[in-house]
């Protein structure tokens, strides 16, 4: 197998498996770990995960393709997830989206040339009280305005 976890992560996987009554229940955690480690989940990674959890590869693939937050393709250093659901839309998400596109020169789903930013639009992020919101990697930013957005993007290295 071409991909494998280092020793440290393998210990972590065993730890995860111990948390659940069934081995296969750990699949979510293990996949997330794999994504962290490999950047995104390729079929090789799925096969590796399957071998760790004694699962059929197709089962792992089902899980991976079901959840949108498992990345199937490489993304930039910063993954911008802009909410375009109703509340955010009403509060100006469209303007924000236009501003990002203009600033970074990419369309939704694309990554900038140097591989720094990837732009996604997502459904509700569960923070409508701060609309419009977006997430960059794991961090949520609310009450955005185009100026605030500019500053935020500029501040990211």
């Amino acid at each position: 197998m071409s991909v494998s976890f280092p020793e440290k992560d393998r210990k972590l996987v065993e730890e995860m498996i111990r948390h659940y009554p069934h081995k296969k229940s750990a699949i979510g955690d293990v996949l997330y770990l794999a994504q962290k480690h490999f950047g995104y989940i390729t079929p090789e990674v799925e096969l590796y995960v399957a071998s760790l959890l004694d699962l059929p590869a197709s089962y792992v693939h089902q899980v991976v393709t079901f959840y949108s937050m498992y990345l199937k393709k490489p993304v930039g250093k910063y993954l911008i997830m802009l909410c375009d659901n109703v509340s955010c839309l009403l509060c100006g998400a469209e303007d924000l989206l236009g501003r990002i596109k203009e600033k970074l020169g990419i369309e939704v789903g694309e990554t900038t040339q140097e591989g720094k930013f990837t732009l996604w639009t997502v459904e509700c992020l569960g923070a409508c009280e701060q609309a419009p919101v977006m997430m960059i990697n794991d961090k949520l930013y609310g009450n955005l305005t185009p100026d605030k957005l500019d500053r935020l993007l500029d501040s990211l290295e």
Partner: protein, 550 residues
């Protein structure tokens, strides 16, 4: 099921009260009293998914409709399977199933045997209310394995095939990937649906999403006629249906037999058949079939007609028998039907006493085996030969190597070969046979197709293939099952029992069997293992011969 008597419950279905064993699903219960409830995802051989929601029924005092494939009957239940509410729900479900289903019934091989079509005609027959474009997949039909084509657009996501791969073949190639309206059946990237049971997913697919590559576009389902038979490929003796087409000879490249489908027999093969068996029929309409009795003189074979060939064979065999130096050997095949084996045994021992019987269960096929269906012994009737005492276990019967030794010692004057292609067997059996055959003065070959062994024979009799003659075979556990005659033998070929009987008559005996059934009646009389059996008793499900378990 732990030996305890199951409780019966009284349930009203569509206004009539019936009694069912407790734990029966409503769908099965209704089916047992002749009420078909539409369904896609339910299959009696698989786990219950409840994915398609087509089998909804109304149960009184339950607020919502219930899926009948999962709900079990219970005392006092009042079930409506076909009232307005149920029909409306079903119609709505069908509409959902059809939202993204392409309108390509004309090019779909499932057309004519497609549940979607049937249910649409039953419940819908409406004009689509859909205004949006249907979701189109990037790929239309593509091959996902050696035998299976997948068209994701047609899929209704019943997950039968996924469950088959998980539960029956345990090969897990298929999965339902993505979600929502992008959900699709597929194999894991870069993998193939190549389990030895892969083509079963075609049978269980209720729509045209999974199709047989071999059968693809050859003909249409409604042109085919069906007959019950037994798979000849291994000693499991899976029950099959032979689908054939005689009325439209321009279809299927002129081949009569279009496909084999498994036939449910819970004692033998459940609902399944392996791919090896499924595609084992090609030899029947192959170009190398032997079409007439051939007599080879000076290396040239010519069709002489049965009369001349039989007389020549009888004369030559008698000459060999008259000689005291050499013996006559008969190579018995475990691929022959019980009737043929019986006649071989009797005709030769009665007409040419001292004939040496030789038995070999070697086949040119790979001896694959698993604990699902496939058996290592790739002969359909080894057990039958065993029960008749034709295996080398008994002292009178030689094995192939014993025969070879005798041949090389010049002790064999004539060899009658049934179906065996000796030179085509794996090395351990066939070694040296090419030369050994040359040393036998007279080789008579009875078989269906031309093979290297038949090329070495002086007299060749064309035998009917398993679908062209009636006969019984005995599977590994001693179950005697009937192979029906589906269509007439190719050109001059005759059923094996008829050839042997005619040879017996030519040798001076009197055998007057009119049909395989009569042969079997005698067989049952004279062979203790088959005592009491008859075609009637065997029926379509087969019957385990007495003493077979021993």
């Amino acid at each position: 099921m732990s030996g305890k008597e199951k409780k019966t419950v009284k349930t009203v279905i569509d206004g009539k009260e019936y009694a069912f064993p407790q734990g029966t699903t409503i769908l099965e219960a209704a089916k047992s009293v002749g009420i078909e409830i539409p369904h896609f995802c339910y299959h009696p051989g698989l786990s219950i998914a409840g994915a398609c929601r087509m089998c909804l029924v109304e149960i009184e005092k339950m607020p919502k409709l219930q899926i009948s494939c999962h709900m079990t009957v219970d005392d006092g239940m009042v079930i409506h399977t076909n009232n307005e509410r149920v029909k409306k729900a079903r119609k709505a479900m069908l509409e959902f199933h059809l939202v993204n289903h392409p309108l390509d019934c004309p090019v779909c091989d499932q057309g004519g045997e497609c549940n979607l079509q049937i249910y649409y005609m039953m419940h819908g027959n409406y004009i689509s209310r859909l205004r949006e474009n249907k979701v189109k997949k990037t790929k239309k039909a593509f091959q996902i394995g050696p035998h299976v084509m997948l068209d994701q657009e047609r899929c209704v996501l019943c997950s039968r095939c996924v469950r088959f791969c998980q539960e029956i073949s345990k090969s897990n190639e298929l999965g339902i990937f993505q979600r929502g309206d992008r959900e699709e059946i597929d194999v894991f990237p870069d993998m193939q649906l190549n389990s030895p049971y892969s083509a079963n997913v075609v049978d269980i697919c209720p729509v045209g999403a999974l199709l047989d590559k071999d059968f693809r576009f050859k003909t249409r389902a409604w042109y085919l006629e069906s007959a019950d038979s037994i798979c000849p490929r291994c000693s499991r003796g899976c029950n099959i249906e032979i689908h054939y087409n005689l009325n439209r000879p321009w279809k299927n490249e002129g081949r009569r037999l279009a496909r084999l489908k498994p036939r449910c027999n819970l004692e033998v093969n459940d609902w399944w058949v392996c791919d090896e068996g499924r595609y084992s029929f090609k030899f029947i309409d192959d170009d190398n079939r032997i079409e007439g009795p051939l007599v080879r003189t000076d290396g040239k074979a010519r069709n002489t007609g049965f009369k001349e060939a039989l007389e020549l064979a009888a004369e030559s065999l008698r000459n060999s028998a008259a000689s005291t130096d050499v013996e006559i050997a008969v190579l018995v095949s475990p691929r022959a039907a019980n009737e043929e084996l019986y006649l071989l045994k009797h005709v030769f021992s009665e007409q040419l006493p001292g004939t040496r019987l030789v038995f070999s269960s070697a086949t040119p096929f790979e001896p694959t085996e698993d604990d699902i269906l496939r058996k290592k012994d790739k002969n359909s009737n080894t057990r039958g030969a065993e029960l008749m005492g034709l295996t080398p276990d008994s002292a009178q019967v030689w094995s192939l190597s014993e025969l070879k030794d005798a041949v090389l010692a010049g002790e064999i004057g004539a060899l009658y070969i049934c179906y065996h292609d000796i030179t085509g067997l794996p090395e351990e059996f066939s070694a040296g046979w090419a030369e050994a055959l040359e040393r036998i003065p007279l080789v008579v070959y009875q078989g269906t197709n031309t093979c290297p062994t038949s090329e070495k024979a002086q007299i060749i009799f064309p035998a009917a293939a398993f679908a062209e003659r009636e006969g019984t075979v005995t599977n590994f556990e001693g179950r005697v099952q009937i192979q029906q005659k589906v269509f007439e033998p190719l050109s001059e070929a005759l059923p094996g029992w008829q050839i042997i009987q005619s040879l017996g008559v030519a040798l001076g005996g009197s055998y007057e069997y009119e049909s395989a059934e009569e042969v079997f009646a005698d067989l049952a009389k004279n062979e203790p293992a088959f005592a009491g059996l008859s075609y009637e008793k065997i029926g379509s499900g087969g019957f385990v011969a007495k003493d077979a378990k021993a």
